[in-house]
Amino acid sequence: MAYMILQHGESRSFPPDDPFLAAAAVQADIVLHLGTPVAPDPGKVAVVVELGVECLADHAEDDNPVYTNVVGFSRFRNGVDSPSKLVELVRMRVTADNAVAAAKAMFETAGFTVVICTDQAGRILDRLLRPKYNAALRFLDEGLASAADMDTTCKLGLGYPDGPIERLVRGGLAHHCDVTSALFATYGTAAYAPPRMALAARRRGAR
C-alpha cells in the first residue's frame, strides 16, 4: 500500500536507516507526518500523524469534521531501545473508519502489529506501564527488594523477558521522566507522578 512521508527532524518511530522510510512513494493517498505540522487535507484517504507523549488532539481539534481522515500513530519504543514492531493507531471521535482501515493496512503490509485505541494520554502501553514502573522504582527506594530480585521475580514468576528495573535503566530513566510528566499533567493522579530516580536522571542530564 503506497504512502508518502513529510518529515522534519529525526523520527522516534523510524530511525534514518529504517526500511519503512525507504519504501515511501513521492505521491500517494496516504501521507505520514513525521514531525511536520498537520493541516487538513481532504484529498488524502488518510493523514497519519506521528505522536510522542502528546495526544492527537494536540494536532487536530477534537470533533472538528475537517479532521475526519486524520489518524495518529506511535511505534512503541522503550527509551533508547530499538523501536518495537507494535504500532498503536489513534483515532478520535470524528475519525472515519476508512481512514483508520487504510492506515492499519499500510502498517500491517509493512510488517507491523497494529492495535487501535482512542485518543487518551499514554494510549495503551504507556498508560499501563508507567504506573507499574513507578511502583517498581518506589519499591526500590523503600527497600522492598533489590533491583535484581525484582527483575528476577518478574522473569521467573511472570515469564517476562526482562524485569522493570533493567528495562527502565536500559531505556533511560530520563525518558521515563518525560513520559510520566506528560501523563501526570493529564491525569493528575499520584500513580503517574514521575518518581525520584527519574526526576533525578532528568535533572542531571542523563538519558
Binding site: Q120, L128, F139, S146, D149, C154, Y160, T189
Partner: protein, 277 residues
C-alpha cells in the same frame, strides 16, 4: 498448592508429611502427585524406580500430631489471616521447639501470621508460584521478629530443593503481587475507559513488551473472582487507588463472567472472541 510444594520437597530427597483436616483433599493431592511423577516417567525425566522412591517419601495424614516429626512445616491453607493463625497455633503445640514454620501466603503479612503462634522468630514467608512443582521462584520474606538463623535455614532449604529465591520485605503482595495486582486492575480500567478493547490491549502488551500473555488473558486464567479477592486484600492495607477493585470487574463477576473457568471473561473461550465491555 500444597501438593506442588510437597512434590518439590520430595523430589529433592526430603521426607514429606502432608497434613489436611479433610481426607478427600489429601486423596486428591496424593493422586495429583502420583499423576505428576507418572508423567515424569512417561516423558523420560525419571525412571520407574526413581518415581517409586520419591513417592515412598510421602506420608499423608489427617492427624496434626504427625507433624511433630517435621523440622520445617510449610502451610498453604486458605488465604485468610485467622485461618493461618489458628493453624500455626495448633502446630505450635505439637511441633518440636526447633521446627520452622513457613507460610505460602501471597498477600498476608508474615508478621501478623506469626502472631498466631509462640515462635514468631521461627516463622518465615515462603511464597511459591503456581504451579509450584514447575515454577522455580520463591519469594522469601522475614517477618519483623524472624531470626536470621530461621531465614537462612529456610533459604538454604529452597536452594537444596533447586528453587530460585528472592528476598523481599514483609509488605503486602511482596514483589510479584504488589506489581501484578494493580497492573491487572489498570488493564481492566483501560477497557472500562474505552482506551481499547481487551484484545487490542493484550496484543499491545505482548507485541510491545514481549510478554507471553496479556493482562486480561491472565485475569481470565486466574479468575475474575480471584482478582476481586486480591484487590480486596490489598486495597484496605495499602490504600493504593490502583489496588481498588475496578467497577467493571465487579459487574462482570456479578454476571457470572469469571474467566476461563466459567467459559467467558474478557474473552469467550467457546469462540475466543472478545467480551465487548
Amino acid at each position: 498448592m500444597g501438593a506442588g510444594i510437597a512434590i518439590v520437597a520430595a523430589r529433592a530427597g526430603f521426607d514429606v508429611i502432608c497434613y489436611d483436616a479433610v481426607d478427600a483433599s489429601l486423596l486428591r493431592a496424593a493422586k495429583q502427585s502420583q499423576a505428576f511423577f507418572q508423567k515424569s516417567v512417561e516423558r523420560g525425566k525419571m525412571s520407574e524406580v526413581e518415581r517409586d522412591t520419591v513417592l515412598g517419601r510421602f506420608t499423608c495424614t489427617t492427624d496434626i500430631g504427625a507433624m511433630a516429626a517435621c523440622d520445617l512445616v510449610i502451610e498453604a491453607v486458605f488465604e485468610e489471616l485467622g485461618v493461618k493463625q489458628k493453624l500455626l497455633g495448633a502446630l505450635d503445640s505439637v511441633c518440636s521447639d526447633h521446627a520452622i514454620f513457613g507460610s505460602n501466603t501471597s498477600t498476608l503479612s508474615i508478621t501478623e501470621i506469626a502472631a498466631g503462634c509462640k515462635r514468631p522468630d521461627r516463622v518465615v514467608g515462603m511464597h511459591f508460584c503456581l504451579p509450584a512443582q514447575l515454577m522455580k521462584l520463591v519469594e522469601m520474606s522475614p517477618g519483623l521478629l524472624t531470626s536470621h538463623t530461621t531465614f537462612k535455614t529456610a533459604w538454604d532449604w529452597t536452594v537444596q530443593c533447586g528453587q530460585i529465591s528472592v528476598k523481599t520485605q514483609d509488605k503486602p503482595g511482596f514483589i510479584l503481587n504488589a506489581l501484578l495486582v494493580p497492573f491487572n486492575n489498570d488493564a481492566i480500567r483501560a477497557v472500562e475507559a474505552g482506551v481499547a478493547d481487551a484484545e487490542s490491549i493484550d496484543i499491545a502488551v505482548k507485541a510491545g513488551l514481549g510478554y507471553k500473555m496479556g493482562p486480561l488473558e491472565l485475569i481470565d486464567l486466574i479468575g475474575l473472582d480471584t482478582q476481586i479477592r486480591l484487590s480486596e486484600a490489598f486495597y484496605p492495607v495499602t490504600l493504593d487507588p490502583r489496588a481498588a477493585c475496578p467497577p467493571l470487574l465487579r459487574r462482570m463477576v456479578a454476571a457470572g463472567l469469571l474467566g476461563r473457568k466459567s467459559g467467558r471473561g474478557f474473552f469467550n473461550y467457546t469462540g475466543n472472541t472478545m467480551f465487548g465491555a
